[in-house]
């Protein structure tokens, strides 16, 4: 298959206050998706203040000086829209996908959110509990608990090591003024990217963007992250005991940043192992397992070692992690799974990659790259996400880069990155008092 990433008509510019604006006309439906991105995430935090970026995101749904609290989401919904926001390692973002006649109103909403959110003490205290509840809900899931522990072990210096939700201790003490200061420091036009994709004419759209954002004053540039994760010099292991329904294995290795020339070989290596990877962290992580002709599927699932296996690539600004997460079959020792994974990594490093494996991995990647940027919401997400971590041009350039990858590139990548000394291996085993099985019958029923 040839690269069919049809170079979409994209208008990219920067306003005099430093706001990056990227517009993509898509006339497939009478909708428009507006995303406002800020180059701030958990990487910009420090101990004592972990989780602050995410909490700020929550506060920014609580009304602005011109838009009362309930109106922020109400207006989107009245326009038949859907909305959300998220915070992660490198980014904080907000979006609305609405009927296209509400485009102007969504721009007004995002401009207001950038400059004049209200941080009342009452709302801060309410939201403290909401965020802590979000953290506790996440800890209910043994897999995400293990993932968090493995990340904190694999990375020892770079701020990607702590969870975006933050540590409970920090969430208990962060103050209203801490939150507001974080908001004012990072929510400036020169640290932001405004994306729109959908049913509009670019010139008109740019005029609207200028009207709403053009007068916002530039702020100080955000300080860069300076720490570089030191090279790992030996395998790290951890075992966690928690109540759970299965044994989980989580294996992490150091990965290149999105803009690194190695990133394309990384995508193909993952493609050979698990099937075409997604580079859409918003809608691509749909829990789809490895493709059924991939090596990990054959080795672990068809080998009767595991019920589930998934790999994760996150395009990031700084080097992050490559992760393989496995749910062991009942009675299978995680050591056997680890050995099967090692064998697959070594096969790659030896250069045992047939032409068909390579072609299949590339074809799958190219198909996902296209399918996962079809909707206005996905298209706008991908432009903004890549602009935040590298450049929106990288997103369009990935198919070309992936097609140029050779088997030798993949083998070299595997030798550098999948070495045992570069790994962190986490295992979560069921523990604790055995609970009665939560069967379907009227077990444990009390009547009041």
């Amino acid at each position: 298959m040839t690269a069919r990433a049809r170079r979409a008509s994209v208008v990219a510019t920067r306003l005099s206050n430093g706001l990056t604006v990227i517009l993509r006309e898509m006339r497939q439906a009478p909708v428009v998706s507006v995303w406002c991105w800020y180059r701030v995430g958990s990487r910009d935090e420090r101990p004592g203040f972990t989780g602050i970026s995410h909490w700020v995101e929550h506060m920014n749904f609580k009304g602005t000086r011109r838009i009362p609290k309930d109106e922020v989401t109400r207006r989107v919904e009245l326009a038949g829209g859907t909305w959300n926001g998220y915070t992660w390692l490198d980014v904080t973002t907000y979006y609305e996908t609405v009927q296209s006649d509400a485009f102007d109103e969504m721009l007004r909403l995002e401009a207001s959110r950038m400059t004049e959110c209200v941080y009342s003490t009452t709302e801060v205290e309410r939201e403290r509990n909401v965020v802590i509840s979000e953290l506790q809900g996440g800890e209910n899931d043994p897999r995400s608990f293990l993932e968090k522990e493995v990340t904190g072990t694999a990375l020892q210096a770079h701020p990607y090591r702590w969870p975006t939700i933050g540590y409970l201790s920090d969430l208990r003490v962060i103050t209203r003024d801490d939150l507001y200061a974080h908001y004012r420091r990072y929510y400036v036009p020169n640290n932001a990217i405004l994306i729109a994709a959908g049913d509009f004419e670019s010139r008109t759209a740019l005029r609207l963007v200028r009207r709403h954002f053009g007068k916002i004053r530039r702020g100080e540039d955000a300080p860069p992250v300076r720490t570089i994760e030191p090279a790992q010099r030996g395998e790290r292991r951890l075992t966690i005991r928690r109540p759970s329904g299965a044994v989980y294995l989580d294996l992490a290795m150091h990965a290149p940043a999105a803009a690194d020339p190695e990133f394309a070989a990384f995508l193909v290596a993952d493609g050979v192992l698990a099937g075409g990877p997604t580079v859409n962290v918003w809608s691509g992580q749909d829990g789809r397992g490895p493709s059924k002709s991939s090596r990990l599927y054959r080795a672990l699932i068809e080998g009767n070692l595991a019920g589930q296996v998934s790999t994760q690539i996150v395009p990031t600004r700084h080097p992050y992690l490559y992760r393989v997460a496995v749910t062991a079959n009942e009675g299978v020792e995680p050591g056997r799974i680890e050995e099967a994974l090692s064998e697959e990594f070594e096969r790659l490093a030896r250069g045992d990659i047939a032409e068909r494996d390579l072609e299949r991995a590339k074809t799958q990647f190219l198909a996902r790259h296209a399918l996962e940027s079809e909707s206005t919401t996905d298209a706008a997400h991908q432009l903004g996400f890549f602009e935040t971590v590298a450049s929106h041009r990288l997103f369009f350039d990935l198919p070309r880069r992936v097609e140029a990858v050779t088997a030798a590139d993949v083998a070299a990548f595997a030798r550098r990155r999948f070495d045992r000394d570069q790994r962190t291996v986490g295992v979560l085993r069921p523990s604790g008092p055995l609970t009665a099985p939560a069967g379907p019958a009227g077990h444990g029923v009390t009547r009041s």
């Binding site: 989401t73 509840s133 506790q136 928690r242 002709s293 909707s375 939560a438 029923v445």
Partner: protein, 438 residues
């Protein structure tokens, strides 16, 4: 909205094609009336196993050969069993449509169910069940079902089954289920994407027209409108569950959890109920609009008790549950429950305001075109309308149906469905004393 083509073949297969030239891709959704509700008695999980095994050997092709044809072309394949239906989804670049339809027909009509694959798929299902039984949200929702529906009711058992029920399933159960439920009559092939609709229908007609799964042993049921519903095998309708008669409280302790999931479940309605538009508006006001309607406002926004608090309605072939949900720390369960019950009682007693009625109607009706934007969404929504016999124009009519809902209809629906004196209350999570629920 683009023109949608629909044809019913002589063997009963319904073909739907919605063109969308914006991207060179196609999404396919194939649907059978073969969900978990049709699992044989004491063998819950059969539909889920059948769905997982369709592509693990079909005709003369092995699992590896089928996987290779999809993977070589970058095609995404998925299959699963819901409550009512078994569904297969495919996403592909449009040039591959003919080959993919051929493969799809083979998979649904001639799966071979090899023993080795059955053993493996059962193992995976058992692991998924063990994980589910440790998941507070899943346990809460299962307990609502197990309490709301009487023994033997098709909606009572969990969708994936239980450890015992899955172990009881044998190969002959799978082949029998396939034979009686995955038949041309009533099957739906819904396609959306980059094609000429007449050509796509012609192509699919050639491929699926020759499929003769036979009408099955049982007689057709009396013809009902619209035609799609009448095509399916005769089966007794899914019975309405009896009203619980009181508030039944259920506690499901799960060790090692930091948060509890609360579910307050009511007897809801079937998809074809004339009450549906009013109930959708009611659900939006109670627990969906903006940050989770009145429930979200009371529990998350005002009290700061939870990350999520919302409601949802599941309306299927039979009467599904109408559930209010929240996830809270164990020490806040009591307070959250008070707010949940208070919020619901208020809607029932005092009704809804003209402005929230207007907002929810506007949001629900204006969202319809956006929901149809992508090919997978369009294929799914059209298949769904066909499956429930609502007609292919349903997505076009839905906004009118919503706009026609009156305040008194919503208030009547609240009194009829949100019956606090006859419902199921479940708390699943860290161990807590019974007074919490008193």
């Amino acid at each position: 909205m683009s023109a949608v083509a629909r044809t019913r073949l002589d063997n009963g297969v319904v073909l739907i094609a919605r063109p969308n030239r914006a991207a060179k891709s196609v999404a396919i959704q194939m649907v059978f009336e073969a969900g978990a509700a049709f699992d044989p008695a004491s063998k819950a999980g059969t539909a889920a196993l059948v769905a997982g095994l369709l592509d693990r050997g079909a005709g003369t092709l092995s699992a590896a050969e089928i996987a290779a044809t999809f993977d070589d072309l970058g095609i995404a394949y998925g299959a699963g069993a819901g409550r009512d239906s078994l569904e297969i989804t495919l996403r592909l670049l449009s040039e591959h449509l003919p080959g993919v339809l051929e493969r799809l027909r083979l998979i649904v009509s001639e799966p071979t169910f090899p023993e080795a694959e059955i053993g493996r798929e059962k193992g995976r299902l058992l692991t998924a069940i063990a994980e589910r039984d440790q998941n507070t949200a899943a346990v809460a929702e299962m307990a609502v079902q197990a309490t709301l529906y009487p023994s033997g009711h098709p909606y009572r058992s969990p969708r994936l089954g239980s450890r015992d029920s899955v172990q009881r399933i044998e190969r002959s159960d799978l082949t029998a289920f396939h034979k009686s439920h995955l038949r041309p009559s009533g099957a739906i092939v819904s396609m959306a994407g980059d094609f000429d609709p007449a050509r796509a229908i012609g192509l699919a007609a050639n491929i699926f027209g020759a499929w003769n799964g036979g009408p099955g042993q049982s007689a057709r049921r009396a013809v009902r409108t619209p035609e799609a519903a009448s095509d399916r095998a005769a089966r007794p309708p899914i019975p309405d569950p009896p009203a619980p008669g009181r508030m039944i409280s259920v506690v499901r302790p799960i060790a090692g959890k930091t948060q509890a999931d609360i579910a307050l479940g009511f007897r809801g309605l079937a998809r074809r109920s004339p009450d549906l538009p009013a109930v959708l508006v009611l659900d939006s006001i109670l627990g969906e609009f903006s940050l989770g309607g009145r429930l979200g406002k009371a529990i998350r926004e005002r009290a700061g008790l939870a990350y999520y608090a919302y409601s949802h309605v599941t309306a299927g072939l039979g009467v599904g549950p109408f559930v209010a949900r929240a996830g809270v720390a164990p020490e806040r369960v009591r307070r959250a429950l008070e707010l949940m019950r208070g919020t619901i009682a208020q809607v029932v007693r005092r009704g809804v305001s003209p402005s929230e009625l207007r907002d929810s109607k506007q949001a629900l009706s204006a969202a319809v075109p956006r929901r149809m934007e992508t090919n997978p969404d369009a294929a799914e929504i059209l298949a769904d309308a066909e499956f429930y016999g609502l007609g292919i124009d349903y997505p076009r009519h839905l906004p009118e149906l919503i706009r026609a809902v009156t305040r008194s209809q919503v208030e009547e629906a609240a009194r009829k469905y949100l019956t606090l004196k006859s419902c199921v209350l479940v708390v699943a999570g860290p161990a807590m004393d019974k007074e919490t629920l008193a």
